[in-house]
């Protein structure tokens, strides 16, 4: 025998349930995307900061030419000699010129890149104590091989970090705004529901139903509308995220190369990040429940 889900049907608001469902579903969709965007910006910022912090890139033009000091020593060898005696350096990573050409090929084309006389790049990684006196190192390098440039990444990392942090904060502000709009819509749905069901509520009161009982009916009504909406909203948002992520991965290989561009990594999320994303629809559901109950209780208090 079909008894139905009576608690959800006591208040007759089928039309409002559809509207509320669409509204909450759309809000959850946007909130999940915004939260992923915020976390993505944070992850990129973290990755770049940790990857490039304490790194100095040295460019040695004409690396194979002899030094001005005479002898058979090349300019590159002179620079490396200076680096060997500089304290605080943890790692010296000589980047092969072929790698540099590979990086430039997508932009300049194979022919032009092959003719270019590229400087040799050296990545220096410093110990935790960091770079104490970059100016002195620059002076010594220029003395050994004039024209050598030592580029410190800190200034642009700071600017990029500020930008990604702003994106991160913006994402969470969007989540907050969307949540507020969703909760306001729940409040209005409940208030209009109480108003439209005034006769039924009066009857329930006469049959001995307390405000908490009637408020539970509205809460159940909102739950029946918002729970599927939250699930579908979150599912569609997740599908969208993975669709975008798959596009990003497809675009990463350069000219058939298996190398991927790590500058804009695809979903660099760990389990904690996914946990935060999952909290968005769950939080939506819980908040709408609490809001519906409070709004109904307050509205019912006004009915004598």
């Amino acid at each position: 025998m079909n008894w139905g889900r009576q608690n959800e049907r006591m208040v007759n608001r089928r039309g409002s349930a559809v509207f509320l469902g669409w509204m909450i579903g759309s809000m959850v969709y946007m909130a999940v995307l915004a939260s992923v965007g915020a976390l993505y910006a944070q992850a990129i910022s973290k990755r770049w900061t940790s990857a490039l912090n304490g790194v100095v890139t040295i460019q040695v033009p004409e690396p194979d030419s002899p030094t001005l000091l005479g002898g058979k020593k090349t300019r590159l060898a002179a620079v490396l000699a200076v680096l060997r005696v500089t304290p605080g350096i943890r790692d010296v990573d000589l980047i092969k010129q072929d790698n540099g050409r590979t990086l430039l090929e997508p932009w300049l084309g194979k022919d032009l890149t092959a003719d270019l006389e590229l400087p040799t790049l050296i990545d220096l990684k410093f110990l935790a104590s960091g770079i104490n006196d970059l100016a002195a190192l620059r002076a010594r390098l220029n003395q050994a091989a004039p024209g050598t440039v030592a580029e410190d990444h800190r200034s642009w990392i700071t600017r990029v970090a500020a930008l990604t942090n702003a994106v991160n904060r913006g994402g969470w502000i969007i989540v907050l705004l969307v949540s507020t709009v969703a909760l306001v819509s729940v409040i209005f749905a409940v208030l209009s529901g109480v108003s439209a069901n005034r006769n039924i509520i009066g009857l329930l009161h006469l049959m001995g139903a307390g405000d908490s009982y009637v408020a539970r009916q509205f809460q159940g009504h909102v739950l029946s509308a918002t729970l599927p909406a939250c699930i579908f909203g979150a599912a569609f948002a997740t599908a969208t995220i993975f669709a975008i992520a798959s596009l990003s991965i497809d675009a990463s290989p350069v000219d058939g190369s298996s190398a991927t561009l790590e500058v804009v990594p695809a979903l660099p999320f760990d389990i904690e990040d996914w946990g935060i994303v999952a909290c968005v629809p769950i939080g939506f559901t819980i908040l709408t429940m609490i809001t519906a109950r409070l709004a109904a209780t307050i509205a019912l208090r006004r009915i004598s």
Binding site: M1, N2, W3, G4, Q6, N7, R9, M10, N12, N199, I200, L203, L204, H205, L206, M207, G208, A209, G210, D211, Y213
Partner: protein, 249 residues
């Protein structure tokens, strides 16, 4: 001399010099004074506008007296909190004159409402509701919506809803107003069954012919005054037989 200390059962209802008026104008009820013992059966009679509905509304706490005191189940109705009013109302079954069925709920769900409000277990609800609906002759209409039923059938749904939770006090406002004599007698017989099971019953009606066929006392309202008239007739064998025949139809 030995003094017997016999504890009197708490009165179900006591009106103490009650006056009721709506904003301006003369009082609808005045000087109303009566009390109901537990497990009593009373008709409430009087012409339209005599104040029957107002008096019933005071009993089910939809109205408070303008003057005087209404004591329900031993509690002054003026002193009850909102939650206490809900608890008191759960002990009252009401048959409204206009039925007040919830249109979007089917018969079974309408009748189950008082049990759900009382927090009765679902298994009990699923057993008792069809039983009672079968007893009032609506076994074939469990899943019907109220609007698909006749006036008499809707009235029986309203009565089933009022009695399903076995209330201490049953109030019926013109419960026979929309049914023919046969159904009217059958409904009165149902109220008598409840009365025999321990429920205090007040049936408001202006059907004097019906009232005269039952032996119960009358609370008669006339121009806002209430008179208590004792019932004089016991139902004779023919009446009883007629009721039983009606019930089997």
């Amino acid at each position: 001399m030995t003094q017997l200390n016999v504890e009197r059962p708490v009165l179900v209802l006591r009106f103490e010099d009650v006056e009721m008026r709506y904003t301006i104008g003369p009082p609808v009820l005045h000087g109303v004074h009566f009390e109901l013992d537990p497990n009593s059966f009373h008709f409430m009679t009087g012409k339209s506008g005599a104040g029957k509905s107002s008096l019933l509304r005071m009993i089910y706490l939809a109205l408070l007296p303008s003057r005087g005191r209404v004591v329900l189940f031993g509690r002054d109705t003026r002193t009850l909190s909102r939650d206490e009013i809900s608890r008191v109302r759960r002990r009252i079954g009401i048959v409204f004159q206009d039925f007040r069925l919830i249109e979007h709920l089917n018969v079974r769900e309408n009748v189950a409402l008082p049990l759900r409000i009382a927090g009765t277990r679902e298994s009990v609800i699923r057993r008792h509701v069809p039983e009672l609906l079968d007893w009032v002759g609506l076994a074939e209409h469990l899943n019907a919506l109220p609007r698909t039923l006749s006036g008499g059938q809707q009235q029986r749904v309203a009565i089933a809803r009022a009695v399903i939770a076995q209330p201490t006090l049953l109030l019926a406002d013109e419960p026979t107003g929309n049914v023919d004599d046969r159904i009217a007698h059958r409904l009165l017989y149902l109220f008598e069954e409840l009365h025999r099971a321990g429920t205090t019953v007040i049936v408001a009606t202006h059907n004097d012919a019906l009232v005269s066929r039952f032996p119960h006392a009358r609370l008669h309202l006339e121009e806002g005054h209430l008179k208590r008239l004792e019932g004089s007739r016991k139902p004779n064998a023919r009446t009883r037989q007629s009721l039983n025949q009606n019930d089997t139809q």
